[in-house]
Symmetry: C2
Subunit: 338 residues, 2 copies
């Protein structure tokens, strides 16, 4: 049936129902009634921009809880902002839907709304399309830093100490448990431990409160998303330095310690599994005490796990026996044929 | 074979080969070696942000020239910026590839580079993923306007004159010719006319030079991407006004005039076909002469095609006989069940 030209379109109705409530707190979103948003960093600040997509079948399973997908779509972007010392401001979202599934959309927006609220990052605009392919969510997130102060990846300096926030490997274990529930008995994990690990996989919490400490004291930083070893190698390669990690210093949660105690080779897997969404930061030794203090004030755990070492050609992780560990896989690569 | 942790990843190699050259002109891109970019509007300006995706099988055919896809992916975003009176600054791109097709990527970047150069809008950052589904390109583009001056969609005023840039319907004809080459003979079009129409479909040129005139003299504006009638209805609905277009005033190219002369019902189709990427602007009568003059200085054709009419409940297009035209479809909607 022809539609009267004055009637709101289905696309407008969809925007009004699902997306406009997410933009209610942001004046520059114009209620999502315009094609563009306006964003202005505070005086003396510049905008930090990042973009990351989640694709069904690649980054999440078709059976994933839609609320978790919504949470994670924003969290993986906020993680990049935090690593740069940036304070989240807002985001825009381009979403491609294979079908108009209202239950999925309602759950997705619930998770997205929770993430917005947790990270202080409202919706500013977006684009909604139909797709014949997998559902995909591409978010571009904006934060602010004082002008010229973004904490870069390529600026690690000789003798910097290497810190990581939170704990490493929990998400890898959460995914492993989901894929093979029998691991639970093998690892002797209780209900609470399993819930903890699965939540670390499905609802990562990048440490937003750590941004000011990074801005003040870090010489370089990036988030740990594709595996600690791989991301540390990237940081060192970008900075044209070598580096060394002490495996025994890598912070593990209680459940992860149980797993490592139960199965020899899992420490290596935790250090290369990815999806941590923690921060890897290089801190000059002279700043270390202040960095640790500021992190503590922000209630964010940071652990010194190694150092930049320009006498080394690349990176290495020193294992318990004092010898370099061997990795069959250091992390995730979309385009590796190997 | 295990990869040495110090070797650049395939993803980094891909970024270095295809994307980094597109970012060479933009300092805030950090050579694409960081997870984030920095963007700073000029003093006294704020950032205008828009996001639009192109999906294979939805927005372009699998047989489309990759260079055209690259051009169009940026052009459709720049079109939104221009409508807001914004000067393009930079963009970020999230691309999902079903395969690593180097010929496709080389062609795609050629078209994208040409668009960057035409619109003055370099690459600032991005995200490259594998996908099991259709190829998709999601761009978020940034422009700048003096603070608080973005030309909005919802601010049309009573008695504003309604202008459109360029000509309407050429892209619709270009697509129709591609889908049914026999139309060429039916419409009696020569080679040059066909090439012109197909180029209007495959390489839209949003009128970047018109932005200052819009900023100075328009009360409201948006780009025409989903069909003139549909987009005019949206603008009026957002502004809570009615409006009227004179079909006889709608600017048509020479080839489009031939088509309308040859087939009765095509005027209606041109006014609802979409993909024009021209600007629809509301201009107070007191500004009209200056708006036209500034557009002329910018070598951009603008045509007055109607007016905002608050005595009308909705919108109408007045046909040749003086009666409102009937439309079976006013434009494109991803989520219309009808």
């Amino acid at each position: 049936m022809p539609r009267a030209p004055n009637e709101a379109t289905d696309e407008e109705a969809l925007i009004a129902e699902y997306w406009a409530p997410l933009a209610a707190g942001f004046a520059g979103a114009y209620g999502l009634k315009d094609d563009c948003a306006t964003i202005e960093p505070p005086p003396g600040h510049e905008l930090v921009v990042t973009t990351d997509a989640l694709i069904e079948g690649v980054h999440f399973l078709p059976t994933a809880d839609a609320a978790d997908v919504g949470w994670k779509a924003l969290a993986v972007n906020v993680s990049d902002l935090v690593a740069k010392g940036a304070t989240p401001l807002a985001y825009v979202m381009s979403i491609a839907l294979p079908r108009l599934d209202r239950i999925w959309l309602a759950n997705f927006t619930t998770g997205l709304a929770a993430a917005q609220s947790a990270f202080g990052c409202p919706l500013a605009g977006g684009d909604t399309d139909r797709t014949p392919g997998p559902l995909s969510v591409s978010i571009t997130a904006f934060g602010s830093v004082p002008k010229g102060r973004m904490v870069q990846r390529a600026t690690a300096r000789p003798d910097d100490l290497v810190y990581v926030s939170g704990t490493i490997g929990d998400a890898t274990l959460g995914l492993a448990l989901r894929q093979d529930p029998q691991l639970r008995a093998f690892w002797n994990l209780d209900d609470a431990a399993c819930r903890f690990l699965e939540a670390k996989f499905s609802r990562p919490h990048p440490p937003v409160a750590l941004a000011p400490a990074l801005l003040a004291y870090a010489s370089a930083a990036m988030d740990v998303s594709d595996g600690l070893m791989k991301d540390f190698a990237r940081l060192c390669r970008a900075s044209e330095v070598g580096g060394r990690l002490e495996a025994a210093q890598v912070p593990l949660s209680g459940p992860a310690k149980s797993v490592v105690a139960a199965s020899d080779n899992w420490l290596e897997r935790l250090m290369s599994g990815g999806e941590d969404y923690e921060i890897l930061a290089c801190v000059p030794p002279a700043n270390a005490a202040q960095f640790e203090q500021r992190a503590e004030q922000a209630h964010t755990r940071v652990t010194c796990i190694g150092a930049i070492d320009t006498s080394a050609a690349g990176i290495a992780a020193i294992g318990a026996a004092g010898a370099p560990m061997q990795f069959t896989k250091t992390g995730w690569d979309h385009f590796s044929a190997r």
